[in-house]
Every structure is written in C-alpha cells, then in structure tokens.
C-alpha cells in the first residue's frame, strides 16, 4: 500500500540552512547535508529545500548543495526557490535532485510547466501554489503571500495538472505559521478534483493536525518546517501515531 509521506522543509540561504534550527546534537546547525542526514535517519520520507537567497552566485551555490546532499542522502528530495528555466532545472537534476518545485515562474509563464514536463517528465515537476482566501475565494499569491494574482486556486491547480505537473504543493497562507492545522477543506477539494498527488503545507502544530490532513484533507503528503526543526514533534512519534490511526506510513 502506498504510504502517506512526511516531508520536512528546509529553508536555504547561500547554501546554508536558515532560521534557528534547534538540534542540540548538531555540529553545524547551518549545514543542510547534516540536517538532511538526520531527518533521513529519523524517518522522513522526503525532503524539500527551499532556496531563498538572492545573490548572483545563487545558482552555483544551490547546485553545489544539491550535489552534496545527493552524495550522502538516500531518500528523495525536491529543490525549489527562484527556478525559472529549463536550464535551471537541468543543472539541479544533473547534480542529483529528484524533483524541482516551481512557483512564481509557473504563474508568470505557465508554458514553463509544459516545457519542463516534456523535457524531464512530469514525475520530477512539482508546482507549488501559495493561496489565501479573499472574500471567500482562494486566490493564488506570489512572494510568500505578499503579491496577489488574478488566479483562483482550484482552476489554476487544474491547469497546472493539465500542463503536466506531477505533483502539487499547496500552502495556505491563511494557515501558514499559525500552528492551527492545515487547510483541510481546500485540500480535500484539490485532492478530489485532481488526479495527481497533493502535498499539504501550512499550519502544522500537533500530531492531530497531520492525522486530520490525511483523513479529512485527503492529502498524499504533509510538509512542515518549524515543528520538526524545533523538535516539537519527532518524526518517529508522528508516524507511530499515524499508524495507530490506521494511516499507512513507512516505519
């Protein structure tokens, strides 16, 4: 049976993890490779690296990091953040990334999804969608929720699927950072309307939130950052609890 996936997300700046990550046993809290190895050992099913650096050397630094992670880590990982061309993706995949995630560049140039899917296959193209509710409608936003667009979540998600995305990473900006649970109603609608996997993101605070997003949100995977980084939830405890609730997980 296909297991539900638990996906820690790491923010990367200039090849280093950012935000205070609370791993006491870590020699170097900024080293993405060491963190990735720890999460892999603890039972993470997949990792997402989100690059937030904006330097000119960004591409090379990120490619180097991808290479170093792939060298050491034997679980799949996705890389996102500022990817805007076929060449960008080619470099990341050649260096060992399993998937790439695109967001703003897909909104600005939807044809990019078709081009990437045709060249690399749908299986490695994740489209990330950030959305929040405005007057009862889920509207797609850019730049971490700061810039609204004209696109509506569900129609955009459908278009993204039709253009060849292999997976959707949906972050509710209304839930992100609140630790009050995932946007399960919207997630369930996405999961029912689409025929590709949906990764839930934004709002994880407790183990129950994960259970709910798999049961009520019909999510295929759940992504979180701070609850894992600050050890509020241990992945092993989380997976055992999920298994206890009858949710298939890899233990």
């Amino acid at each position: 049976m296909l297991a539900k996936r638990i996906v820690p997300c790491l923010d990367i700046k200039d090849g280093r993890t950012v935000k205070g990550i609370n791993f006491v046993d870590l020699r170097d809290a900024g080293d993405p490779v060491e963190l990735a190895e720890i999460y892999s050992r603890e039972g993470a099913d997949e990792l997402v690296f989100l690059d937030i650096s904006a330097t000119e050397q960004k591409r090379k630094t990120l490619a180097d990091m991808v290479y170093r992670v792939a060298e050491k880590v034997s679980i799949p990982f996705t890389v996102g953040g500022g990817i805007s061309s076929v060449e960008d993706v080619d470099v990341l995949l050649q260096n060992g990334a399993d998937k790439v995630s695109i967001n703003s560049s897909a909104v600005k140039n939807p044809q990019l999804i078709n081009d990437l899917a045709a060249k690399f296959g749908s299986q490695c193209i994740v489209v990330a969608i950030d959305a929040k509710q405005i007057d009862g409608r889920w509207m797609v936003h850019l730049v971490g929720g700061k810039v609204p667009t004209e696109k509506e979540l569900f129609s955009w998600a459908k278009e993204v699927e039709e253009r060849g995305a292999g997976e959707i990473l949906f972050t509710s900006m209304d839930h992100d950072g609140t630790k009050n649970g995932f946007a399960n109603e919207a997630l369930a609608k996405l999961s029912t309307e689409l025929n590709i996997p949906v990764i839930a993101s934004g709002g994880a605070g407790t183990i129950q939130h994960f259970t709910d997003t798999f049961v009520y949100g019909k999510a295929d995977a759940a992504l979180a950052a701070s609850v894992f980084h600050f050890k509020e939830i241990k992945i092993k405890d989380l997976k055992e609890a999920l298994k206890g609730s009858g949710i298939p997980v890899r233990l």
């Binding site: 049976m1 296909l2 297991a3 539900k4 996936r5 892999s40 099913d45 997949e46 290479y67 792939a70 060298e71 050491k72 034997s74 679980i75 799949p76 995949l93 050649q94 260096n95 060992g96 990334a97 399993d98 690399f120 296959g121 749908s122 299986q123 490695c124 292999g166 997976e167 689409l194 025929n195 590709i196 996997p197 295929d220 995977a221 890899r250």
Partner: protein, 193 residues
C-alpha cells in the same frame, strides 16, 4: 569490480553513482559499447519518457548491445520498463528481454504513483535479507503487470511487478538508490550476484 552505469542521456543518474559510492564501490558513466561489454556489473537507469528513451538507445546502437550482455544487468525504473516487450508510453517497442508489456495505471488512482510502497512475494538473491512488505521509493505512471518473470510485487490500483528477472537481467520499478537502507541492501545484493 568494474561497474558501469549506462549513460544515454536519460535523467538523474548521479544518485545511482552516489549510492554505489556509499557501498564502497565506484561506478563509471558510459555509453561506450566496449566499456559496457567489459563491465562486471551493468546498471541501466532511466527517467523520462519511454519512446524518446528508446529513440536514444537506437541512435547509439545500445538497443542491440544490452540484450546480448552476459554479466548481471540491473534496469531501474524506466530502465526496467524499456527491458520489456513494449510500453504504452509513446507506443514504443522495448528491448524484449522481459516478456511483458508495460501499460498505464487507470485513473481510479492518482497518476503518477509517487512515494513509498511495499514489496512482497520476494524472490531471488536480489532480495536476500529483505523482509516482506518493506517500503521502497517509486515514481511512475506505467507498470509491468504480474508475469512469470515477476520477483517482487507491489499494489497500487492492482498488483503489479515491482521487480523482474530473466537470467542475468534484473529490473526494479522502484529506485533502490532512493529507498534508504532497504534500497541500499538491494543494490548491495545486486553487486554481489
């Protein structure tokens, strides 16, 4: 041990190279016929689309070379699928090593299947030391149905072949190089065949 990963321009092969390194061996990437024929072990990877991958194999003559290899060969993911008779993906003929036709999952399930599924009914030395129902990582939209050459099965939509074997040829639908400790053991087993 001389390990060659066939490099015909299909997908992420860096990860396989790294996985072999983690096992204490080294592998070279090559599309050179002599080098492939002289290897002790051959790994035939593949990520992408079946008909264009077959096109690349034909263009380099590897479509004739691979089925004639005598040493252990491991096809991974699309590599395994290309070793079958045909694939529905782009309606292409395959290398005809495994006597089975690759078809697409129905829309009753999400396609592609992405993530960790279980393997069972494990046969051959490839799975030595691996317990039934261990999880392995896979990403695919097409599958090989169960057949005489099935040596592991998984269930998604229906039961299908998660690994195949004929003589010196092995194929896994899953990615051992991305399947954590379980995958590492399977790769190690292959290198010891």
């Amino acid at each position: 041990m001389k390990i060659v990963i066939i490099n015909y321009g299909a997908g992420n092969i860096q990860s396989i190279k790294f996985a072999i390194q983690r096992l204490g061996h080294s592998a070279i990437l090559s599309n050179n016929v002599k080098e492939i024929q002289n290897a002790d072990k051959v790994i035939f990877p593949g990520v992408g689309e079946a008909s264009s991958a077959m096109h690349k194999l034909r263009a380099s003559g590897l479509d004739k070379v691979i089925p004639e290899l005598k040493q252990p060969v491991l096809g991974i993911c699309l590599g395994m699928q290309l070793m079958c008779n045909s694939s529905e993906e782009g309606n292409t003929k395959g290398l005809g090593i495994f006597d089975v036709d690759v078809i697409r999952f129905s829309n009753k399930v999400k396609v592609p299947q992405i993530g960790w599924n279980q393997i069972s009914n494990l046969k051959t030395k490839l799975f030595e030391g691996i317990r039934e129902k261990e999880h392995i990582y896979l990403v695919h939209s097409y599958y090989a149905p169960l057949c005489n050459e099935t040596i592991a099965e998984s269930e998604y939509d229906l039961k299908y072949s998660s690994a195949l074997r004929k003589d010196n040829f092995y194929g896994t639908q899953f990615h051992p190089e991305k399947s954590s400790d379980v995958g590492e053991r399977i790769l190690k087993n292959f290198l010891e065949i």
